[in-house]
Symmetry: C2
Subunit: 455 residues, 2 copies
Amino acid sequence: MPDLEAALAYAKDHQADFLEEFLSFLRVPSISTLPDHQEDMHKAANWIKKQLERFGFDSVAVMPTGGHPVIYGEWMKAGKDAPTILFYGHYDVQPPDPLELWISEPFEPQIRGENLFARGASDMKGQIVAHLKAVESLLSTSSLPVNLKYLIEGEEEIGSPNLGAFITENKNLLSCDLCLNGDSSILAPDMPAISISLRGLAYFEIRVQGAAGDLHSGTFGGAVDNPAIVLCKLIAGMRDDLGRITLPGFYDHVRPLSKTERAEMVSMPDEWWMEQSGAAMLFGEQGYSPTERATVRPTLDVNGMVSGFIGEGSKTVLPAQAMAKISMRLVPDQHPERIKNCLEEYLRTNAPPTVTWELEAMATCPPAIVERDSSAVHAASRALEAVWGVKPVFQRQGGTVPVVGLVQDLLGVDSLMLGFGLPDDNLHAPNEKMHLPNFRRGIETYIRFMLEFSS
Amino acid sequence: MPDLEAALAYAKDHQADFLEEFLSFLRVPSISTLPDHQEDMHKAANWIKKQLERFGFDSVAVMPTGGHPVIYGEWMKAGKDAPTILFYGHYDVQPPDPLELWISEPFEPQIRGENLFARGASDMKGQIVAHLKAVESLLSTSSLPVNLKYLIEGEEEIGSPNLGAFITENKNLLSCDLCLNGDSSILAPDMPAISISLRGLAYFEIRVQGAAGDLHSGTFGGAVDNPAIVLCKLIAGMRDDLGRITLPGFYDHVRPLSKTERAEMVSMPDEWWMEQSGAAMLFGEQGYSPTERATVRPTLDVNGMVSGFIGEGSKTVLPAQAMAKISMRLVPDQHPERIKNCLEEYLRTNAPPTVTWELEAMATCPPAIVERDSSAVHAASRALEAVWGVKPVFQRQGGTVPVVGLVQDLLGVDSLMLGFGLPDDNLHAPNEKMHLPNFRRGIETYIRFMLEFSS
């Protein structure tokens, strides 16, 4: 029989060990987007594999995919009548650049105050370790109240290109009653939350080509067009002064929010958004609060752009090429494929004949909504309230978790988003951190959730 | 007594040696803008110093400046009644990037057909070597008909920031009757030319800052502004659809061209510009030919820009910063300082309050016109006609040669622009080249010019 009190006592007694293991996992620079880190990816995968083996999991394997491998492992000894949970996580992290803005090294974790700084600390090695340590706390003292499977992928930060095929090929292996997804965050250290909606993603690279090669701006400036200026004009035209996206048909399938839905949203004040982002002033679609704009309204952002000479000093080049990475966050019922058509139509209509252009879809994911009135959400609510002492809020997240759509489509199960990151954790940015009190509360919450969900 | 025929014969006999020396000079990667090449800059300077010492020049020295050194040397044995020519050149070259577009290594010269490919071949080590070899041909067989001084700087490609101070401090040393400037080109291999006007330059870096650091586009997208989009909007607004620059007051001081001036310009057909640039279609200010737009009309170009993540793959970052290098080519009587005011006023008026911005002036030079009806221009005409068999055309150049304005202001002498580059030499671009027949005709032209100018 699972013993809650013994597990909680074990977790408390082993805080120092848990932290040490967390640090060793963070030291592996498992950057999925950079080919140089192939070996680190395997190192991170094996780190998890060893944990599951230590706990006595069965069928533990680093399984190949078309890209980085997936770690699988299962503990099915709770019996046929107990529910089966699939814990989803990703062991890959974002590239750390710009490196010069990190206070400590991204892969040399450093504790400053209550925070642990390292790339991947919050997104999402912290959540993976928290769940592993919840499992360890139960198994070291009694047993698990649920059957448990792990699906830890290595390509979330590059849009999970091989996860769909992997789940399709391993449907039986992955069959479950619920996907527990740790890749999420709460609003503040004292405000536990469950995420009930996610935005989708449509990420593109646009390449504009002018002359055949770079030219001298003195010899040719004025005679031929400048692809960087052309790209700027194209990007400038994608958003109006009221923050509305002007791609033709972009808003056509946006499901309107009801007054009730808008009213019950936990909207943080402008000051909170300014503090969290470090922006001196906010900006976005007129008629919506910053929280709405960042969670339930679609957006368009330039994620990167480059053209010509960007080194120190002055080079008088008239560039031949210009490139921009542009992505849209999507809300129900927008679809990445339809959004690509909108962008293509916009470029066809607006790109001048002085350049040629290419559009490449890089990563896509539909938006998702999860069922609020379910046993999983109720169990999570009880677990969170027991640990935090307050009822959780139901939040809509602005980010994208590709696996949620895949798990719904391919395994037919809902995902419960239950993670413990914070909005100021600097995800995808320099000085990413994990709030250590939250890391410890996360372990306790996962222990309690498994027990609540089994009853 | 100077002996023309003997000098020409010497040049003909030593073609192979001259080429070998040219190659050895090209192998020195004297990139002035990159701090890593400090040593190469000295190597290139010493290469020239040794040549002048070999010819028996006096006062040969590599002279320090606030930046890269200047090479000086003089041959004053033509006597008090002979004119004194100051030969100006620069031994620095542009950075070679993007490296992947070079067919052969930029600093491993390669001859393909009639062309010699290497960074700096045409801009302008080829012209320096051609003049040195003209001097060698005369001195090895007889003597020079003129007094000659060399002023070879190492900072032309970064806007000659220390040349003004150097000339000011060495006014007596550099006193002369004419500055012969080899940093120019002709229109086609069979079309010799003398340049009579140059455009000026105003080069800026604009830096736009949004949030304090890079943000996750899922968490913050929609709530805060995107500095890359802001920069694109600012750049997009600098040029209208007719190719006119929209900065307030930009055209205020442009001296109108008379009908006669426009009529006598050698305007190359559209097809020529398309072939030279490799652009499938031309674009520029409405109402002017491509040649006019590239030589006697001012322009605005983006020379480079960067923001966010520009590596392979997709990173969903909302960048904190965006930067663009923007430069204007100026015509009489525009002035860089006034143009900076135009740009500043534009940014003040148009930049939104969601970002902060900085404007840095990087390199500036006023436009220049040289005297057409002078003994120098007549001598050059005769020399060019003797070598090419056709009369030269008088051309207006679109590029910028900062020293021309300095020499006029500080030494009170005109500059004769007499160089042998070609429009398709890929200056400042991958696969820069020198047309070798032109290199040899250049040597003969310089020999003949010195004789013509002395008579």
